[in-house]
Symmetry: C2
Subunit: 384 residues, 2 copies
């Protein structure tokens, strides 16, 4: 959609151009064939709204001048994958490969790539393309560019399947701009969840503006929520974690937060007007105004969880009484994504993960929906 080179030329960039460029390959896979310049991929795809994935082989575009090819090592499971594949956010094209927390090793680079070299450790999050001329792009908020191509299920002319295909697969081709470096000292499996869960919680926390000792609330303690706790604790906040799962209390304390079990909305009352800021990762419709009321008057409550149809219903009178500003935040831009990965590496802010083989994806999805994930499932890409 927004190739820095003339898009009309893109389709002609095949093996010939690659052979003449700086393309380098690693690995034994016959990624290229003379008759077909596309990249061969295998992964797990949804074929319908059932929420069940099956093994699928497919093709990706050849590595363009500004592209890198990443051999995936790990891809982690986000609740968004499930929402989108089930059609909760609108009708989907199938087969579709989900996954937007992707890490691996650079296996090839296009002729004009400067940011990566073969062998680098790289990560890809929720975006794979956008328009470099867009004001949002220039401001480092690529996710708000109207032309952004999100990592899976978005129309993408360059993709042989017509849509972007995500990270539950053994490789990915992506513009170098939309990949970040994974610093030394951060394991690839622990890096993966930072690409969505990390940046999605880090960005609003940073935008709100931290002071050590501030009281920060986190509602919904799953993949995103547990990262929000760890990030806010790391930044010096006094963190209150609001969960409906009493079984998570010990973990929450270990993460450094004070647990509040909300099995009844009345449990929120003692915190009314107490917190400086709150982030909600709750990915279903819920009583927003009741939760927002725990924030101080004129404070901010940021929604990052995305419910079915993206809809949240709130009481205008409830929000008036609390005087809280409600807003929503979508991941973060590429500079900030690199920032959170670097921050987490330096400060050892690491997700709590369970590595699983691809064969367990469907079971893991059910556990994510049933709030049984502890706290991020990371798929070993060697098993795709």
């Amino acid at each position: 959609m927004s190739d820095p080179i003339d898009p009309k030329r893109r389709e002609f960039i095949g093996l010939a151009a690659l052979a003449g460029g700086s393309l380098l390959l690693t690995g034994a896979d016959p990624l290229f064939a003379a008759s077909n310049p596309n990249i061969h991929s295998r992964g797990y795809a949804a074929l319908d709204t059932s929420g069940k994935l099956v093994p699928w082989t497919f093709e990706r575009r050849p590595v363009g001048d500004y592209d890198i090819l990443i051999e995936t090592k790990y891809a982690s499971i986000c609740h968004s994958d499930i929402h989108q594949m089930k059609g909760h956010w609108g009708p989907q094209h199938y087969p579709q490969v989900p996954g937007h927390e992707i890490v691996g090793v650079v296996a090839a680079v296009g002729s004009k790539v400067t940011k990566f070299k073969v062998g680098d450790r790289a990560g890809v999050g929720c975006m794979v393309d956008s328009n470099p001329e867009c004001a949002s792009f220039k401001a480092g908020e690529e996710q708000y560019c109207p032309e952004t191509v999100f990592t899976y299920g978005y129309p993408e002319a360059s993709s042989p399947s017509g849509i972007s295909q995500g990270g539950y697969s053994n490789n990915i081709v992506v513009k170098e701009h939309f990949a970040v470096h994974i610093p030394e000292g951060l394991s690839l499996q622990e890096a993966a969840p930072l690409l969505c869960a990390g940046i999605t919680t880090y960005s609003p926390l940073m935008k709100w503006g931290f002071k050590p000792g501030d009281k920060v609330g986190v509602a919904g303690i799953g993949g995103l929520g547990h990262m929000a706790i760890k990030l806010a604790v790391s930044k010096g906040a006094e963190v209150y974690a609001f969960t409906t799962s009493a079984e998570k209390v010990d973990d929450i304390i270990a993460f450094g937060a004070k647990p509040v079990v909300v099995d009844d909305l009345a449990k929120l009352a003692p915190y009314s007007g107490q917190l400086d800021f709150m982030i909600s990762t709750i990915p279903v419709d819920y009583n927003v105004a009741a939760y927002a009321a725990v924030v101080k008057p004129y404070g901010t409550f940021t929604q990052v969880g995305m419910p079915e149809r993206f809809e949240v219903t709130l009481s205008a009178i409830g929000l008036a009484f609390s005087r809280v500003n409600f807003n929503a935040s979508l991941i973060g831009g590429m500079p900030e994504t690199q920032e959170v990965v670097d921050y987490c590496a330096e400060h050892r802010v690491l997700p709590t993960i369970q590595v699983i083989p691809a064969s367990e994806i469907n079971d893991a999805w059910e556990k994510v929906v049933n709030k049984q994930a502890r706290y991020r499932y990371v798929i070993d890409a060697a098993t795709f």
Copy 2:
């Protein structure tokens, strides 16, 4: 609920106390009878959720030490009256007299009243009592005190009917703190709508913080919306008025705003990200995120219209893309209510009104619902 004097004593303050105090009366009505110290009132009440009002006589509490009795001259019609009487905001006690835009002349004052004297012109808005010890009260934001008694339909032990009874009646008894002075040069009929429509729009406009030349949006051009336009224009803003009624365009231009007819949400697109601030008076559920998107990223969109069940549904992803802060505002405190009345008197910011007799209330209510009001119906209290 929050009498500055011992509430247990309140019931003993009858004619005896009043006779010994500074109570003064005007007018010929036999407001007091030896056998019954209550104030006799006549007005229009809802008896059920039909949205039809009928004449009703009832009693108000005697004038307490800190109370004033106002002989009503005008009471204007707010969409909130209709919502509440119809039960849109929850089950109601009937008979109930609506009305929270009330102006008149002080006819009696309690023994400890210092703010008013008999003959003063006074106005009452949406509140009649609250707790002076509450932090919100002390901050001049009485409306956010949990013990606030709103002007009609709220439990009120001192009221013979058990609930507060509003301003569609020939008089009202109210704590002096909850009445404002109507300055010279402001007609009573034009003052009435300021007590809700005026303060409800003035307060968020002032909180947001004005700079002349700022671009301000107003959505929903009825009683509140037309005041929001006039106030924002008066403060130097460049005002964009978003309406679904093409018939209002000429009026909107006369009020000083640029009209935008939103007969299709696509009409909002050219304004995407353009405005500094927006206020919505729309009193039904609507596509909040689509309207909010006309505000600049990180700007503010304030909801003051209160829909059925107070519920607004919004797209979290839409709000994320616009990056707009959504909040809601409830009227304004008493100091600010006096401020807006004084401001409007000084700067001749006057509502556009139609004075009607009480017999036309039911017809006027239908017109309010059908968007035919131009722009505030004001009831002549002499006709109750």
